[in-house]
């Protein structure tokens, strides 16, 4: 059974993606018998190309993907290069970690509440600095250039890339490398950028690709912050797909294929950029400059990452404030009165979606953890290491659901399910979430599992314990903390999913996330505040358990309190 686990994981991840892509490709060329498309034609493409504003949609999707990635990566690298282990640095790291669990939609709402013409920022400086007595008529959120979309994505992708870097850095022995370079006369930040960054980048390349793919094709954040006339490509596709006129599905499929192309082009463009930077960098590395005027760069690194994380937190405060605000006249920084009305009114409608969200998240996470544990345990027992042979490519396959745009294959998957006569059910949504939860759960747990000292196993075997007994009585309890962390990551990923829930649930399965995002168009701040805050706090429950449970269980076991 155990030996089948890796195969099962790969099938579960790759199968649906391939099926989904195929079933997006066929209708894109006119073939979908269920809707009367029996022959192949280029009509869907003609229709697609005739859509007004298509070029602009494509342009915004492409550019926001590349810029988000470039800005986030630059901020993270600048910060890491300037890290000196000071209290501020440690504080920043601690500040950034919880942001990973913040759902994209909640972060986007928070930002919108902050920067909107009538948002917190405008209120704080009005009328004193601006003289505004009423909200200015500016299109800040949903701006046509997608700048607020870009900002919203950077807020979320910076912590992701930072944590990926922090996970990879211990392999590089960065401190000794920097010390070495400094003894040769390099300034600390230049030293880090010259001797650590070039080895770090290859280790975080797949996460970087995932960011590009995500940012070029995101739907929920784009619905909240992105341009509207025309919207980004992914949002347009969703609109066409949901059009009551079913014949537009052909065009939507062509759009999905186009989206795949846009993301692929963005990835290729990034690879070209990599080459260019590598070429310029080689020159820069070998030239021997020791670095001067590092101070502004160091400040920029710290300042930008602080700005990004504080924006997210202040945005959350804004959400909270809106959700309890009574009457709140424009230039006032704070509401005149506070009220629980919005919460009380929302409560009856909240419970259902919260229960559904929890059910899906817990189901998905348990499945993902079981599969992950089975695969990792199999790896331990067969003694095969990922570096030896095929498992390295299996790791790349793990990233597949994160690199193929969701919208490109989820449509096809819906078509497959419809043609199989499968009704939207909870298990279908769970299965859809699994595609995205499994990679994160695996990546989160694998490191701890593989680093587990093999002598514990040898010792237990020599004491006569069977392989199964060792798994249950030694490995699992000793790895409880990383296991729970992986679980919390899984829960957070599942809770934040918008598109898979919407599409595989055919709009009939309401989670906190689908409900919150659907409120975006309405613009009722008070209600949005309530829902977005609930969405933001649900993943925290998982992390509180992950931190608290080991401390509670091992309160009498000192060596178990720091993770092993």
């Amino acid at each position: 059974m155990l030996r089948l686990a890796p195969l099962l994981i790969v099938t579960l991840l790759v199968g649906p993606i391939l099926a989904g892509l195929a079933m997006a490709l066929l209708p894109a060329f006119g073939y979908l018998p269920a809707l009367g498309g029996h022959g192949f034609s280029l009509d869907p493409w003609r229709q697609l190309l005739a859509q007004p504003g298509l070029a602009r949609s494509v342009g915004v999707s492409f550019a926001s993907g590349l810029f988000t990635t470039a800005v986030s990566l630059a901020v993270v690298l600048l910060f890491l290069a300037g890290v000196s282990g000071s209290r501020l640095d440690r504080w920043i790291r601690r500040l950034v970690a919880p942001l990973l669990s913040l759902p994209h939609a909640a972060a986007a709402f928070g930002l919108a509440f902050l920067i909107a013409p009538s948002g917190l920022l405008a209120r704080l400086v009005s009328p004193g600095l601006t003289g505004w007595q009423r909200p200015p008529d500016l299109l800040i959120v949903n701006d046509p250039w997608g700048l607020s979309l870009l900002a919203g994505l950077v807020i979320k992708e910076t912590p992701f890339l930072l944590l990926m870097c922090l996970a990879a850095l211990p392999q590089l022995d960065a401190e000794r490398r920097v010390a070495m370079a400094r003894s040769l006369g390099y300034r600390p930040m230049t030293a880090w950028l010259k001797v650590v960054a070039p080895s770090l980048y290859p280790l975080i390349r797949l996460p970087v690709f995932a960011v590009i793919a995500y940012a070029t094709s995101v739907v929920d954040v784009a619905l909240i912050l992105g341009p509207t006339l025309p919207p980004t490509l992914a949002v347009s596709i969703l609109t066409w797909f949901n059009d009551p006129d079913l014949s537009r599905r052909f065009m939507a499929s062509a759009g999905a294929v186009l989206q795949l192309g846009v993301t692929a082009t963005a990835l290729i463009a990034w690879c070209c950029l990599e080459r260019l930077v590598a070429r310029l960098g080689r020159h820069w590395l070998a030239r021997g400059g020791r670095g001067q005027g590092e101070r502004p760069l160091r400040l920029a690194g710290k300042g930008l990452i602080l700005l990004a994380s504080l924006t997210a937190f202040v945005g959350l405060v804004g959400l909270a404030l809106s959700s309890i605000a009574g009457f709140w006249r424009f230039p006032d920084a704070l509401p005149q009165s506070l009220t629980a009305t919005h919460w009380l009114r929302a409560l009856p409608t909240l419970t259902g979606p919260i229960a559904t969200t929890a059910l899906i998240a817990i189901g998905t996470t348990l499945l993902a953890l079981s599969l992950t544990l089975a695969a990792l345990e199999n790896e331990q027992r067969s003694g095969r290491r990922p570096a030896e042979g095929k498992l390295l490519s299996a790791l790349t396959l793990l990233y597949l659901p994160l690199i193929v745009p969701q919208i490109a294959f989820l449509f096809g998957l819906v078509v497959v399910m419809e043609s199989l006569g499968t009704r939207p059910r909870l298990w279908l949504v769970i299965f859809g979430h699994l595609l995205f939860v499994l990679p994160y759960a695996f990546l989160s747990l694998a490191e701890a599992y593989r680093r587990f000292d093999p002598r514990w196993t040898q010792l237990a075997l020599s004491l006569g314990a069977s392989r199964n007994a060792i798994f249950w009585r030694v490995r699992l309890p000793m790895l409880l903390a990383p296991l729970l962390t992986a679980g919390a990551v899984g829960l957070a990923v599942s809770i934040g999913q918008y598109l898979p829930t919407l599409l595989l649930g055919a709009g009939r399965i309401a989670t906190v996330t689908t409900e919150a995002v659907s409120l975006a168009a309405g613009g009722n701040r008070r209600v949005i505040g309530v829902w977005a805050l609930v969405q933001a706090s649900l993943p925290l429950v998982g992390f509180i358990i992950a931190v608290g449970l080991p401390r509670l269980l091992w309160s009498n076991r000192r060596d178990m309190r720091g993770s092993p």
Binding site: P454, W456, Q458, S462, L463, R557, D559, M560
Partner: protein
């Protein structure tokens, strides 16, 4: 305790990529400590891994390992009846001291609690059963590890430099304790070390690996 066991290494040869790493022919009687000396890289730990059943697939081995006349070289590690003592005591951090001792005891053993208490008393740790292993001193941990090994009722024992991480004054006492207990239990033991004093105090035969 028991009548005594006998461990025979019959023409054991370990090969890595066609090169013979080590060859050994030895017969270890009940209560005898047979010492294998050698610098690091001489294949000592590979020999232990082979005998205990953890040899990495990259290695090949030939010969037989007879324990009380039965060839155990093809048995899985958990069924060989060979106990291990490492450099570190490796007490399971999630179990109490008693939990650690209980972990290794055969499932059918009678009066586990009583035997655990007796075992702790014999090494001067009476009443330590419910303690968190992390609160023990280095010497106390080493003694618990030894009793865990003995309570698991092995038929032979492998010692992997078990004294090298102990402080000097403690080291002598620990050697005496370990060797006395092994002798008393009639267990054939194979000690791997690079410390000549270990070998001298073990008092058994010794072989030196080169390379």
């Amino acid at each position: 305790m028991s009548a005594g066991h006998r461990l025979v290494l019959d023409d054991v040869r370990i090969i890595l990529q066609g090169n013979t790493l080590l060859e050994l022919d030895a017969e270890i009687g009940p209560g005898e400590v047979y010492t294998v000396m050698g610098p690091s890289g001489s294949g000592k730990s590979t020999l232990l891994a082979y005998l205990a059943g953890f040899l990495a697939p990259a290695f090949q081995a030939s010969g037989r390992v007879l324990l009380d006349g039965h060839d155990i070289s093809r048995l899985p590690a958990e069924r060989r009846g060979i106990g291990l003592l490492f450099q570190d005591p490796l007490l399971f951090p999630h179990l109490s001291v008693a939990g650690n001792l209980r972990f290794g005891m055969p499932r059918a053993a009678a009066d586990k609690a009583g035997r655990i208490e007796t075992a702790l008393e014999r090494v001067g740790l009476a009443g330590f059963g419910q303690r968190d292993p992390a609160t023990l001193s280095g010497g106390q941990k080493a003694r618990v590890a030894l009793m865990r090994l003995l309570l698991s009722a092995p038929r032979a024992v492998l010692l992997d430099e078990p004294f090298s991480k102990l402080d000097r004054p403690l080291r002598h006492d620990m050697r005496r304790l370990v060797f006395d207990r092994l002798r008393e239990a009639g267990l054939p033991s194979l000690l791997v070390t690079h410390d000549r004093e270990d070998a001298e105090e073990a008092g058994g035969r010794m072989i030196e690996l080169s390379h």
